[in-house]
């Protein structure tokens, strides 16, 4: 297994669990209200889905762009600039969180009236909405800090914050709902977000923390963050619009009795949020590779991500096709008519999960590579444009079943349309990642698991590769020496462990060597490091002889860059 694949897989559980925790957080209020307040409670929370999506949209609008730009700037070794983006992101998360709560307070009553739901559902939704306003402020901040902490390499603390949010929410929401109804549930959600923020603040005390605030307020950078974010965040604003429209449509066409079934459908589609973990696991690596202008490794990571997304989406689809009752038992639906309709609905919409997994991956990926508009088009087609066009048509012919079928079909259709566009624009050679092949001829990657024989083999291969590409013998030997000596030092620092490493030789702009390893974090480029052997003495002297060298450990692995 290569270094890139190994790191991607090591990031995947934490990223997936984080997204699963986020999905469960979104689900928790439906589950709690469904079980404690019955189908009315479930319907009331489902009316809030649009509001949840708006709050997530706000959080993502500041988070996605900041995280991509932060990682890319670190990839390009611009630490101060990266911290400038973090500062802007922090200010924006707080400001937009407050603004969202203010806007939601103003529109609460007219929107609930517009839904036209039964009085009991409307009353409960209004109460929940009012007490959800503090959570609407805190959630974008918690999401921003959690993602930045993850991007900065602290996947464990990021996961702990999700856990704190989920557990805080559940443990507090249950007694609060029992005591105060839907309002108590909303208060518990806000307190869960507060718990997550408190946990995340510990990251700033950690040794390897690269997050920091600096005086940086350039208006164009806010626009840059927003434009980078919109592609990914657009799915939430699209979903918000769809949720408002779909709730109103279902109530008008099938009555408030169909709302519990719609709630289960929304929950089933919501499972796809977990698949965003695949893109999140790929992002720290892909962003760094993009920062290094290395399409070879970017493609390698994204290919692994694509396969993973398909496996995850396909696996959960099969599970729900076989056991649709799993979703129903979560929210405590037990009336026979609702159960029968909801089981069928779960089976129908679960078919959308593989295409939703791919859609979410490409949604994030096209943002990585600067194709934000393409990302937005894909997402808005999948979660808004096609569903809102198809469900009235299918609904008028096949009733509620047609609505569920339209929701299942839309993501696959959107992917197909975008795939055709990408093929037409980039041709087969650049499909589907749209990466230029221009730089690839001058790029070579050597993968190895560190042991003396493999290290010497890689060193010899690097030397031979450079000589065949016209690099003079002296420089080629120096590069080979650098590979052997630095990797042997890494090997010695990690005795008894299996360490994966990756050596990139880039001849596009002079001769650049990038050495990555997943061993213990230490700075090999430090010329003042303790010399304890002839090898470390040679490495120390080599570092002095190479003027352009950098060490970066931000994403949980050592990265040493040398220009020879």
């Amino acid at each position: 297994m290569t270094f890139a694949l190994s790191k991607f897989r090591s990031f995947l559980p934490a990223a997936t669990f984080a997204m699963a925790a986020e999905f469960l957080m979104g689900l928790s209020d439906s589950v709690i209200c469904g079980h404690i307040l019955g189908e009315t409670g479930l319907s009331a929370v489902n009316l809030m889905q649009g509001v949840f999506e708006i709050v997530t949209f706000v959080g993502m609008m500041v988070t996605v762009g900041t995280s991509v730009l932060f990682a890319t700037e670190l990839g390009a070794l611009h630490v101060r600039r990266a911290q400038g983006y973090f500062t802007l992101g922090t200010v924006s998360a707080v400001a937009f969180g407050l603004l969202t709560a203010a806007v939601l307070a103003v529109v609460r009553t007219p929107v609930i009236v517009a839904f036209g739901a039964s009085p009991s559902v409307s009353e409960m939704a209004a109460s929940y909405w009012l007490w959800f306003l503090p959570a609407a402020t805190l959630q974008p901040i918690a999401f921003f800090l959690g993602t930045m902490c993850y991007t900065d390499g602290d996947a464990r603390l990021s996961f702990c914050s999700y856990l704190a949010q989920l557990l805080g929410n559940c443990l507090l929401s249950v007694p609060l709902t029992l005591a105060y109804g839907a309002a108590g549930c909303a208060v518990g959600t806000g307190l869960g977000s507060l718990a997550a923020i408190v946990v995340l603040l510990f990251h700033f005390r950690s040794k390897g923390c690269m997050l920091g605030w600096s005086r940086h307020f350039i208006f164009s950078d806010i626009l840059k963050i927003s434009s980078k974010s919109f592609g990914d965040a657009s799915k939430n604003i699209g979903k918000a619009a769809l949720m408002f429209a779909l709730n109103a449509y279902v109530i008008a066409k099938f009555g408030s009795e169909m709302l519990p079934v719609l709630a289960v459908v929304v929950m089933t589609i919501g499972i796809s949020e977990m698949f965003d973990g695949v893109a999140n696991a790929a992002q720290p690596l892909a962003s760094v590779y993009m920062g290094e202008k290395n399409p070879l490794l970017t493609r390698r990571v994204m290919h692994a991500a694509l396969v993973t997304a398909l496996v995850e989406g396909g696996g959960i689809m099969l599970l729900l096709l076989a056991f649709p009752g799993l979703m129903l038992s979560l929210v405590g639906i037990d009336s026979p008519v609702t159960v029968s309709e909801a089981r069928l609905a779960v089976r129908v919409v679960s078919v959308a999960l593989p295409s939703l997994a791919l859609m979410l991956l490409f949604n994030s990926y096209y943002v990585f590579i600067g194709r934000e508009k393409l990302s937005s088009v894909l997402t808005l087609l999948a979660v808004f444009g096609l569903p809102i066009t198809l469900y009235p048509v299918f609904g008028s012919f096949c009733g509620a079943h047609g609505v569920w079928a339209a929701l299942a079909l839309a993501p696959a259709l959107a992917l197909g349309l975008v795939a055709l566009y990408v093929l037409a624009c980039g041709g087969r050679s650049r499909f589907p990642f749209l990466l230029s092949k221009d730089r690839e001829a001058a790029l070579r990657v050597f993968d190895l698991e560190l042991d003396p024989a493999a290290i010497c083999g890689a060193s010899a291969a690097v030397g031979a590769h450079l000589r065949t590409h016209g690099v003079e013998g002296r420089r080629a030997s120096k590069a080979a020496l650098l590979v052997e000596e630095t990797l042997m030092v890494v090997h010695d620092h990690n005795s008894g462990k299996r360490i994966k490493a990756e050596v990139t030789v880039d001849l596009n702009d002079g001769l650049m060597l990038v050495l990555r390893d997943d061993g213990v974090i230490f700075n090999i480029t430090d010329v003042d490091a303790r010399v304890s052997s002839l090898r470390s003495y040679l490495v120390s002297n080599l570092m002095t002889a190479i003027p352009v060298r950098r060490n970066l450990t931000t994403t949980g692995f050592n990265r040493n860059v040398f220009k020879l």
Binding site: P452, A453, I455, C456, S459, A460, G463, G473, R474, A476, S477, K478, A480, L481, E484, E485, M488, S533, L534, R535, Y537, L538, N541, L542, A545
Partner: protein
Amino acid sequence: MEIKTTTDGTRLTIAVSGRVDTVTAPELAAALNFGDATCVVIDLADVPYMSSAGLRLLLSSHKTMIGKGGELQIANAQEAVREVLDITGFSDILNLV
């Protein structure tokens, strides 16, 4: 790696060819048996590459020969190997010819 040894009285010449790295250095170490020689020449004309593992052998050989009142010469070092000796300051310690 290939190692050829020729003796001319008390002068021992060891001609090395190939890379001298962490993996091949033990093979060279086994061949550095100086016997009664008072002058040892290590010919590096066909060594395009040498890492710290090779340097360690040169240094220990130098110490051995000094200890027995003899001499170690490093002959025909290629530019890349000479640079490594320069970077480490070994070119000032060893007798390069």
